[in-house]
């Protein structure tokens, strides 16, 4: 018989997690996701010395806590979007990252580097998804608190120097977001190879910002980031999100 929609929707929540057995520890909220980063890096150096399993377990990626409630970014980003985006989408990247890392660790212990290398696309996708979303949550704040406005100080000056004015920067960033063909992100980044000059860059899917670029401010242009509220009107989402940008975080990253 045909399966009814609500029934199959429940089942799907499980099959979505890449058939990973969900480690309870991974769901436990923990201080910082950056614990995962060194592991991701060492996994990329696939041929590095075999690590004891304990090191790997300590480096398990976990879903970071939001510093505000799901409803705190309303009316610009709805509570429902925030809840799904954080508790489902981001969680799936965390699970996928841990799954990829487990596969790599197991392959490494058997000396099966072909297998380890074959996981690289999953590591990039889920590792990138985890990093990008963690940076993104910290980039946002309620409009009633730090959210919105425009940056002053060194960051404000650098934006004016690079983009002409704050308004012009917003316009250019929105154009970059609108121009993404498919899923991806737009970032304001600092270019270490050019004396910390600011740059506007886009990344496809969950490709993380790496290399000489230091990510300062990222905006998620995947449809899941806005669809429940803005549907196909993504330009309205790109306009609205400036009301909840946490410039304090951006400035801290810029000055670091």
């Amino acid at each position: 018989m045909e399966r009814d929609i609500s029934d199959s929707r429940n089942q799907s929540a499980n099959s979505l997690t890449l058939s990973l057995s969900l480690d309870k520890q991974a769901v436990t909220m923990s201080a910082s996701l950056f614990r995962a980063t060194p592991v991701a890096r060492s996994a990329l150096r696939a041929a590095s010395a075999v690590k004891p399993a304990a090191t790997f377990v300590r480096g398990k990626a976990t879903l970071p806590d939001l510093q505000y409630d799901y409803g705190a970014l309303e009316p610009y980003i709805s509570s429902k979007i925030m809840e799904l985006h954080h508790s489902k989408h981001h969680q799936t990247y965390v699970n996928g990252l841990n799954s990829a890392l487990t596969t790599i660790a197991e392959a490494e212990s058997k000396g099966d580097f072909t297998k380890a290398a074959s996981v690289a696309p999953l590591l990039n996708f889920h590792g990138g998804g985890h990093l990008n979303h963690t940076l993104f949550w910290e980039n946002l704040a309620p409009a009633s608190r730090e959210g919105g406005g425009s940056p002053d100080g060194a960051l404000g000056k650098a934006i004016t120097t690079e983009f002409g004015s704050f308004e012009s920067f917003v316009k250019q960033m929105n154009a970059a977001l609108a121009g993404i063909q498919g899923s991806g992100w737009a970032w304001l980044a600092k270019d270490k190879a050019a004396n910390g000059k600011l740059a506007l860059i886009t990344r496809a899917n969950q490709d993380p910002v790496t290399g000489n670029y230091v990510p300062l401010l990222g905006i998620d242009a995947w449809e899941h980031a806005y669809y429940l509220q803005y549907e196909n009107r993504k330009a309205e989402y790109f306009e609205a999100i400036w009301n909840v940008i946490n410039w304090k975080t951006v400035a801290k990253r810029f000055e670091a």
Binding site: S12, K88, Q206, E223, H224, L228
Partner: protein, 245 residues
Amino acid sequence: MVNLGSIWQNLLASQAPLQSMTGNATTMAGLATYSLPQLPYAYNALEPYISAQIMELHHSKHHQTYVTNLNNALKVHVAAIASSDIPAQIAQQPAIKFNGGGHINHSLFWKNLAPAETPETNYSKAAPSLAAEIEKTWGSFDEFKKAFSAALLGIQGSGWGWLVKESTAEKGRLRIITTKDQDPVVGGEVPVFGVDMWEHAYYLQYLNGKAAYVENIWKVINWKTAEERFQGSREDAFADLKALL
């Protein structure tokens, strides 16, 4: 027509699938204007597997935007040809590919869907020769379905999954492929049927549960269309569209 030699020829070649859809296009001074094809069923006809709200937005907004942006890009492109501005011509190519691909993909997609439990969605009755080839290739329909579903769920970002028939090397052989964003299947294969894996195709109904969307899409695959495309040539797959409009 302005003679621009090989550049124009290459462009025409790359737009072959669009050219065959000009049944719904008006030609003005060499510039085709594409329009949104009508759906062969009502917006709510695919319920409960795809909601009326999704179908309406997907067709009347998303597909329309690809059509509109394709026409705009072609207009700029033709002007750039007229003024012999090669950089400006090249600059339009990503927009032509993305929006032209979006137009092609969605046009094929609407036609390869049909209301559940109709003669069109009856796999073994509506697609006897395709079914035989699927079973020859994957062993059984269930194995094929498993492989196709896994390919869909493995897409990282926006994209499509397609069952294609090879039309050059290994002619006639079936293959499952995925394409990113709106890249169209224009490598010479015959697109038998496609499934849209952009989040806009399922999010309002399935939210992050894309596996349920993939499970349910099988209820509304139009096997009659798939059989026709399988038996036909690549040109037929696109010409078929034209006849609909």
